[in-house]
């Protein structure tokens, strides 16, 4: 029997060595695999290269990993946000390396790694400083620059539901980088709200087939859902509205 499920987040992130390249799904907080990142912080791996769209928000998740000084370099499209104070401080102090990649190139380069493409001519960034030094070519009158795949040793992904074969479905815009990152890493580790019995995901609607997934851990239902139904009652950070109003900041 194939069983990719693991009992807890600690087990899910075991064996990630120092110096690894780790992809992390998420666009801002949506789809960020916070429980896996917390487990990675506890696990202790350092000198990491992170591939993600952003460079962390607030003091949790990726930001907490950065604050713990575990990240040598981050490859992302948009590090500077209103709540990216952890990254901002490290960057200004020269304590983290940054590689900026236009978001569409980031996505397509990750997809290329998963799909076995050696390199591709992209229309994005042509004539800008982010394309300096890259091979350029005009094809049928349009200008392109050559972009290479981005691979990773590990991908940490957050999905809604998974089964023991690793088939996944996502929720709304929390899907974002999950499916392509799952395809581009040697080992893909996924947190889901719930592990469902094999066969209960409709094969027409599986977004990430299990072939791309190595480990799946259930972390419990997100608090704005109740048995799959949206109940709200949170702010955009996912905090209950009452505590958000009274406490200011805490997860």
């Amino acid at each position: 029997m194939i069983d990719k499920t693991v009992p807890d987040a600690e087990t899910a992130v075991s064996g990630i060595p120092d110096g690894s390249t780790v992809m992390m799904g998420g666009f801002g907080r949506a789809g960020q695999p916070v429980e896996l990142i917390d487990a990675l912080i506890a696990q202790g791996a350092g000198d990491l290269t992170i591939v993600a769209n952003n460079a962390g928000n607030g003091d949790t998740g990726l930001a907490a990993l950065l604050a713990a000084k575990r990240v040598r370099k981050i490859i992302c499209s948009f590090p500077r946000q209103h709540d990216s104070w952890v990254f901002d401080g490290l960057y200004r102090a020269g304590e983290i390396e940054l590689e900026i990649v236009p978001q569409g190139n980031l996505a397509e380069r990750i997809r290329a790694a998963g799909a076995g493409i050696g390199a591709f001519f992209s229309p994005t960034g042509v004539g800008t400083e982010l394309a300096e030094g890259k091979e350029a070519r005009t094809i049928e009158g349009r200008d392109y620059v050559l972009e290479y795949p981005i691979r990773a040793d590990f991908a940490l992904v957050s999905a809604l539901k998974g089964d023991r074969w690793g088939n996944l479905v996502y929720r709304e815009t929390a899907r974002n980088f999950g499916p392509i990152m799952a395809s581009a890493a040697t080992t893909t580790i996924v947190q889901v709200d719930e592990i469902v019995p094999l066969g209960s995901l409709d094969p027409e609607t599986v977004v990430t087939p299990g072939i791309f997934v190595d480990r799946v851990v259930a972390v419990g239902e997100r608090i704005w859902l109740d048995d799959g139904t949206f109940i709200g009652g949170v702010d955009l950070e996912g905090r209950p509205v009452e505590s958000a109003l009274s406490e200011g900041s805490a997860r």
Partner: protein
């Protein structure tokens, strides 16, 4: 001295140029205001690059869903007829030329249609490009929404951009608080001047040679 219309008036003006059935991406910041002025009796489908076509307006406080956000990471809703997809598919839509219109902010637009809107190049600033470069080269029509002048009175319409470029020759039209300009092979052409602005007064403000736009 010269007539300036408000942000909301400018958003309304841009909305008036977007036809029913268009697929539209509204960039982060001021361009999102355009959504408020799209006619309610027409169907215009909004794309957000983080994986949604058919984006609706902001929810009320009880319906904020952290999984459902726009590119500016604000809470949004999904309309009947919406579709979710992953990031490579979403940027494929943009880069593949499937969007009819995108509306972007700008630091500068050159008379050859170069756009600078992602970085001032200031020392010590943290670079962050997001999807700006993909949007700039991807949509069939790239509209820029901006003040004509910086806070210190310099024209954002320029002969050549001094800020780092977002895209080369990509801007279709510039909607400013003073006037609307088309980007043409001969430089900026005045499409519509608001209030008492004229070709002459705008030429003076921008320091550029402006033509009158041809009808289209």
């Amino acid at each position: 001295m010269s007539t300036r219309i408000s942000r909301d008036e400018l958003a309304r003006r841009i909305a008036a140029d977007i036809r029913e059935g268009s697929y539209v991406n509204l960039g982060i910041g001021a361009p999102t205001l355009v959504a408020n002025f799209l006619p309610e009796d027409q169907e215009i489908i909004l794309h957000t690059e983080n994986g949604l076509l058919g984006m609706g307006q902001a929810p009320d406080a009880d319906h904020v869903d952290p999984d459902l956000i726009n590119a500016g990471k604000q809470a949004v809703t999904a309309l009947p007829g919406a579709a979710y997809f992953h990031h490579a598919d979403s940027f494929g839509m943009m880069r593949g030329g499937h969007l009819d219109v995108c509306v972007l902010g700008a630091f500068q637009v050159s008379q050859t249609g170069d756009l600078a809107n992602w970085s001032t190049g200031a020392p010590g600033s943290i670079p962050a490009v997001g999807g700006a470069m993909d949007l700039a080269i991807g949509a069939k029509a790239v509209y820029v929404m901006t003040d004509l002048l910086t806070k210190t009175g310099e024209s954002k319409l320029v002969v050549e951009c001094s800020y780092p470029l977002t895209g080369v020759g990509c801007v279709t039209r510039v909607y400013t608080d003073h006037a609307v300009f088309d980007v043409t092979p001969d430089g900026f052409a005045l499409r519509e001047a608001f209030g008492d602005n004229t070709l002459e007064s705008l030429s003076e403000l921008t320091g550029l040679t402006l033509a009158a736009a041809k009808e289209n």
